[in-house]
């Protein structure tokens, strides 16, 4: 009997190893509440770039500016554009320019010009 298309898979996020249940009809980023930063959620900005260490998945179109053909060979993808077809283990793999800086607020102004230009 075929496996139900809504049977969730387990996604493990390294290095902490937090685990999330991930429906196969939802992209991996949607199912993760911690461990991978969310950006545009539509495959364009590259903030949620991850490496799939183990497990099978399908992928929708992703920005070639953030996922090159060489990246794809190493299973480096954008978490917002992949769908688990198996239990997955992933590791965040952001590009240096896309590590989000801390939030600033009017009672926490610790961010500096250097932070912005890093």
């Amino acid at each position: 009997m075929a496996v139900s298309t809504t049977t969730p898979h387990t996604v493990t996020v390294l290095p902490e190893g937090a685990q999330f249940r991930c429906r196969p009809d939802r992209n991996v980023l949607e199912s993760i509440s911690d461990g991978v930063q969310a950006g545009c959620r539509n495959g364009g900005c590259g903030v949620c770039r991850v490496q799939v260490v183990s497990g099978a998945f399908t992928a929708k179109k992703m920005s070639k500016a953030h996922v090159t053909p060489e990246d794809l060979e190493r299973n480096i993808v954008l978490a917002c554009r992949i769908f688990a077809t198996d239990d997955l283990t992933i590791r965040p793999c952001p590009r240096p320019a896309h590590v989000l800086t801390p939030t600033t607020s009017n009672d926490n102004t610790s961010m500096t010009a250097a932070d912005i230009n890093d």
Binding site: N42, G44, S63, A65, S105, N106, A113, I116
Partner: protein, 308 residues
């Protein structure tokens, strides 16, 4: 007449991951009017724009902006500004008429922030669908989807924004409307520039990576329409980045959201009318939160870190 030289932002070519999916998004959700298509591009305008196109989508396999173009008063102005740019030390190139549908010859140049900027004098007037005699105040196209009036402005991310400001002010006739200072109290984090009486026609945020797009903005006519846009975004499961809220800078009401290629767009209303003789408004670093998001009073991490 006061308005000469550079008139307004006229077109932006935006890179998308999948042209058919992007066309569906900008037609059905954003509610722009599609006016043409060529081998790799689809052409749109806001319902009340009269020129043939403003937003041009290009099938690119990635997100981001190809170029941002400003309409100038006439052909003589285009020649003068091209000469002025060259005298200023800017290398310009000519893109022949017809390369963009229904658009005349364009002068293209790179600004110090790494963006491709264009000037052009002609784009075919196709009207807003209501005609030029005894027109009704709105029509069917103004009610379909979010249905912005026009493409309004853009926020660009890149380095050397003081050099960009000098070029836009000294050569192209823009003026500074508002700016946000960094912690040193001297260097600008962000600048808002106008070539008109709009509070901004283009804005820039200092960013190490050159040539990036933070958002392109579409104008709505009321705060109520901004709320209606938020409803439509939720109905269509659009990723909302921030809002509905208000900006401190320009006082505009706003939603930031992402299209289905990850390009941020803004549905924007308001902003005050400004004039070139006005003293620019200054926001200090300790008030950067309310400067950008007046109600949350803090930047979200995506404001500085998520762009295409």
């Amino acid at each position: 007449m006061g308005m000469t030289g550079v008139l307004r932002p006229g077109h932006m070519q935006l890179k998308v991951l999948d042209l058919d999916e992007a066309v569906e998004f900008y037609t059905k959700v954003v509610g722009l009017v599609q006016t043409g298509r060529d081998a790799t591009r689809a052409y749109f305008k806001g319902w009340d724009e009269r020129d043939h196109n403003s937003l041009v989508l290009r099938d690119a396999g990635e997100a981001g902006m190809d170029f941002y173009g400003f309409k100038v008063a006439d052909a003589a102005t285009l020649e003068k500004l091209d000469a002025d740019l060259k005298n200023y030390g800017v290398t310009t190139e000519r893109i022949p008429a017809g390369d963009l549908l229904e658009t005349g010859e364009r002068v293209r140049f790179e600004i110090p922030s790494g963006h491709q900027i264009e000037l052009y004098a002609h784009k075919t007037d196709v009207g807003n669908g209501s005609g030029y005699f005894n027109p009704p105040p709105w029509n069917e196209a103004s009610e379909r989807g979010i249905a912005p009036i026009r493409m309004d402005h853009a926020l660009l991310y890149g380095p050397d924004i003081e050099k960009v400001q000098a070029l836009f002010v000294d050569v192209l006739g823009f003026y500074l409307v508002e700016h946000i200072l960094l912690e040193d109290g001297v260097t600008d984090l962000a600048i808002w520039l106008s070539c008109s009486t709009k509070a901004h026609d283009v804005a820039l945020v200092r960013n190490e990576e050159p040539g990036k797009l933070h958002h392109t903005a579409f104008l709505l006519e009321s705060w109520e329409k901004v709320l209606r846009a938020a409803d439509l975004m939720s109905m269509n499961k659009v990723t909302i980045d921030m809002g509905p809220t208000r900006h401190g800078v320009t006082r505009g009401t706003t939603i930031y959201a992402f299209d289905n290629s990850g390009n941020r767009f803004e549905t924007f209303c308001g902003g005050y009318q400004s004039y070139p003789d006005w003293e620019p408004l200054t926001w200090t670093w300790d008030e950067v939160g309310p400067a950008v998001f007046y109600h949350d009073r803090q930047l979200n991490p995506a404001f500085l870190g998520v762009y295409t």
